[in-house]
């Protein structure tokens, strides 16, 4: 038996729920050495900005218990190079693209969405709300302020093609993730991706200086999975109709089951790609086996199971 793995994120239909997380799969080309990227649900791009960007100085990462801290500063080629070079390549391989956008304000986000809308074949737009808001004196993220976040989502939604779903990517270290989710949904987000990295730091105990240049970095990996699953659970409880991509520490097929039971319709693999470049297809295989072992015939039946009394499926 092989379960029906299809899933939906608003109007976007995916053959299966395993996608890559933004910034954790390059342009897709690097991972294509290890597996056929048409096999997975979709590739989420790194967050693209209007201009090319050199990112932050090294050291950019530090290993932490069951996780890592990173601060790449969203190095990337800029939206135009992506649309001209990477997107056609991805589509030519039969892949599906979720395009992540990062702007320095609602205006820039709008312009990014407009340019993306001129391209054919984009599966969905993901709005990275964990970018520093330059208008905030203390350098907080858009996601730290539900109203600012909603303004960004609204602008992207109004500039994007109506047939392309817009997903708001939320962080876990925000005042109230349910309130933030509500604000984004009210601003017409078609779905939510949860969660981005959490702000943390580590000290290099040889030098006694911050291990990542600039001090703070983003914590990711299995260490944060309970925080991510908690966000998905709480948001799905209040907004059961809103599709969610769960992300944060997915390592195995049972982790997919965990996120889907909490309320996710798809799951993004991030940091674990660094440890295992064929993680996505392995996770997908393990997930299929886990469904089969439980006699589940449709992956979508698992969505939200942890909210239902009884044995769920």
């Amino acid at each position: 038996m092989n379960a029906d793995l299809r899933t939906r994120l608003g109007s976007l239909r995916l053959p299966n729920p395993v996608v890559t997380a933004a910034g954790c799969a390059g342009s897709g080309r690097e991972l294509a050495q290890f597996f056929d990227i048409a096999e997975i649900g979709a590739v989420t791009t790194k967050s693209l900005m209007l201009e090319p960007r050199a990112g932050r100085p090294a050291p950019r990462m530090a290993e932490t218990p069951s996780g890592m801290l990173s601060a790449t500063g969203m190095q990337g080629p800029g939206i135009d190079v992506f649309l001209q070079r990477d997107l056609p390549w991805l589509l030519s391989r039969g892949g599906r693209a979720i395009v992540s956008l990062a702007g320095s304000g609602a205006g820039e986000f709008g312009e990014l969405a407009r340019r993306v809308s001129e391209a054919e074949g984009v599966g969905a737009i993901e709005v990275n709300l964990s970018c520093p808001n330059p208008a905030d004196p203390s350098g907080r993220h858009f996601a730290d302020d539900a109203a600012q976040a909603a303004a960004v989502v609204q602008t992207v939604r109004s500039h994007a093609r109506s047939d392309v779903p817009v997903l708001a990517k939320l962080a876990a270290d925000v005042p109230d993730v349910v309130e933030l989710a509500g604000a984004c949904v009210a601003a017409r987000a078609d779905g939510l991706t949860m969660v981005n990295t959490l702000r943390g730091m580590s000290v290099d105990t040889r030098t006694l200086r911050p291990a990542v240049a600039g001090g703070m970095g983003g914590l990711s990996g299995p260490a944060i999975r309970p925080l991510a699953v908690g966000c998905v659970y709480r948001v799905h409880e209040v907004f059961p109709e809103v599709p969610i991509i769960g992300t944060g520490g997915v390592r195995t097929g049972t982790d997919v089951l965990e996120f889907m039971a909490a309320g996710a319709s798809a799951v993004a693999v991030g940091t674990v790609n660094f440890a295992d470049p064929s993680a996505c297809v392995r996770v997908l295989r393990e997930f299929t086996e886990a469904l089969d072992a439980r006699g589940v015939s449709r992956a979508s039946d698992v969505v939200g199971a942890a909210h239902r009394p009884g044995t769920g499926v």
């Binding site: 910034g23 954790c24 799969a25 390059g26 690097e30 991972l31 050495q33 290890f34 790194k46 201009e51 090319p52 960007r53 050199a54 990112g55 932050r56 100085p57 090294a58 050291p59 950019r60 990462m61 290993e63 218990p65 069951s66 996780g67 890592m68 990173s70 790449t72 190095q75 990337g76 080629p77 800029g78 135009d80 190079v81 001209q84 070079r85 240049a213 990996g221 299995p222 940091t271 674990v272 790609n273 660094f274 440890a275 295992d276 470049p277």
Partner: protein, 258 residues
């Protein structure tokens, strides 16, 4: 290549990068790497017993380019950076090149395969920080002399960044081309995490933050902006100070498509 450490339920998530030391057809194919115990990952590796399984991804990145003609090459290694110089030496020898080694380490017990080095190479000079083996000092203290004596035509180097910078300077002052293999911290080794970037000047004169795992680890020494490693040079592509015109950007895009 990169090796997963700590086993399935390890709390150390990331792979550890190592240079391929040798590839042999024995026992249905063997890949050798040499490593020094540095932290938890290499300590775990050192505890492995024969027949244990290792999870390895490789080969990764660009290897040392080989000269077309049989020229004289000096190979400079620092610490565990000596490891990849041995297969390079073999390949150079097969092309008829003369090979000379200059190998440095902190102390005698950190010198890699002195005997092999002596066997392969025309000459092999050693330096240690504490003078416990070979000359007391750094590789560059002897490199100039070796270059002159061996009438070297090209330099290859592998080791820590400050050593590579110094070697590049010495090679430059002798007017020799130099290929350096950098050892930047690497989280993924396959080009997706962007943790291993260093500023490198392209053929077009533009500095880019390039991934040393896939675009390197071997670079032309003159192209690496050693003084700016650990920073984002203000004029690097996409740096805050970078003023890329739309035309420059279009060119960039065209270049990348090609």
């Amino acid at each position: 290549m990169s090796v997963a450490v700590g086993g399935d339920h390890s709390s150390t998530l990331l792979r550890r990068p190592f240079a391929v030391h040798d590839v042999k057809p024995d026992y249905g194919g063997t890949v050798e790497f040499l490593f020094a115990v540095r932290g938890s990952g290499t300590a775990w590796l050192a505890e492995r017993r024969s027949r244990d399984l290792l999870d390895v991804v490789g080969p990764l990145g660009r290897p040392f380019p080989l000269p077309r003609d049989p020229v004289n090459c000096v190979l400079v290694g620092g610490g565990s950076g000596s490891a990849p110089l041995f297969p390079l030496a073999q390949s150079l020898r097969r092309r008829g090149c003369r090979v000379d080694f200059v190998l440095g380490a902190t102390s005698a017990d950190r010198v890699f395969s002195a005997i092999t080095a002596r066997r392969i190479a025309e000459t092999a000079a050693f330096t240690t920080d504490d003078g416990s083996f070979g000359t007391r000092g750094r590789v560059c203290d002897v490199l100039g002399r070796v270059i002159e004596e061996a009438r070297s035509d090209a330099v290859y180097a592998c080791g820590p960044m400050p050593m590579l910078r110094a070697v590049t300077a010495v090679a430059g002052s002798h007017g020799l081309p130099v290929q350096v293999a950098v050892e930047e911290a690497m989280a993924c080794g396959v080009g997706i995490c962007m943790s291993c970037v260093i500023p490198v000047v392209g053929e077009d004169g533009i500095t880019r933050m390039v991934r040393s795992c896939v675009d390197g680890p071997v670079f032309r020494g003159e192209h690496v902006r050693f003084d700016d490693v650990g920073t984002i040079p203000f004029d690097a592509l996409g740096a805050p100070g970078w003023k890329g015109s739309s035309a420059a950007r279009a060119a960039e895009s065209a270049r990348d498509i090609a």
